[in-house]
Symmetry: C2
Subunit: 107 residues, 2 copies
Amino acid sequence: MTATTQLAPVFAALGDDTRWSILVRLGEAPASASALARELPISRQAIVKHLEVLSAAGLVESEKVGRELVHRALGGRLSDVARDLERIGRSWEARLARIKRLAEGAG
Amino acid sequence: MTATTQLAPVFAALGDDTRWSILVRLGEAPASASALARELPISRQAIVKHLEVLSAAGLVESEKVGRELVHRALGGRLSDVARDLERIGRSWEARLARIKRLAEGAG
DNA sequence: CAGATGTGCAACTATAGTATTGCACTTCAG
DNA sequence: CTGAAGTGCAATACTATAGTTGCACATCTG
């Protein structure tokens, strides 16, 4: 499960409120760090750092347009993570059900 | 989207490697904090704190059995989160596609 | 009862993460 | 060229989090 073993960094990226705000905003439309800084109550540099984290997690992609660096949210990556989670969640439920069956059979 | 607005805390809970280890371990079979402390290279108290975070995020449920407090991973909660993510990811992709169509049509 | 095991609370340390500010460099417009 | 807007790097301050240890209390077993 190479994908599974590297899930924690993605969750760490998603686990900050400010970062989540940025990501949701980028999901509506791509934007530069300076543009985001005008809309959100934090400095441009703080936003840049958040974007680096999101980028490292594969949740954001950047493209240089003139002097601007435009960032966009990658919904596909989010969907991939979602599928991993779904699968893991199911396996836990299945194991729990099996344990319960054994307990009922033995008790 | 009441569920969506509260996603960040869940990811914050999932975003720590140690906490993820604990959760995966509980997914295999329920266990007490002391039992987990024997298997993992951290103290019982550290595990207890992690369990509190996981519990607050709705990812773990606890039940007292004798003098033990047994914890189990809630796969259903994980699946719920997965479905939210999947939906959000799709909407981002859709919006991006719409923006691209507009750009092509105008340019 | 005595001992082993399990839990809960509290104080404390250390490290990682968030956010700020300041400055230098680049690039587009007048 | 000049100014405005965008970016990048670096130093710093602050806060949150992870982890530890020590002790008191509860509970099962012999």
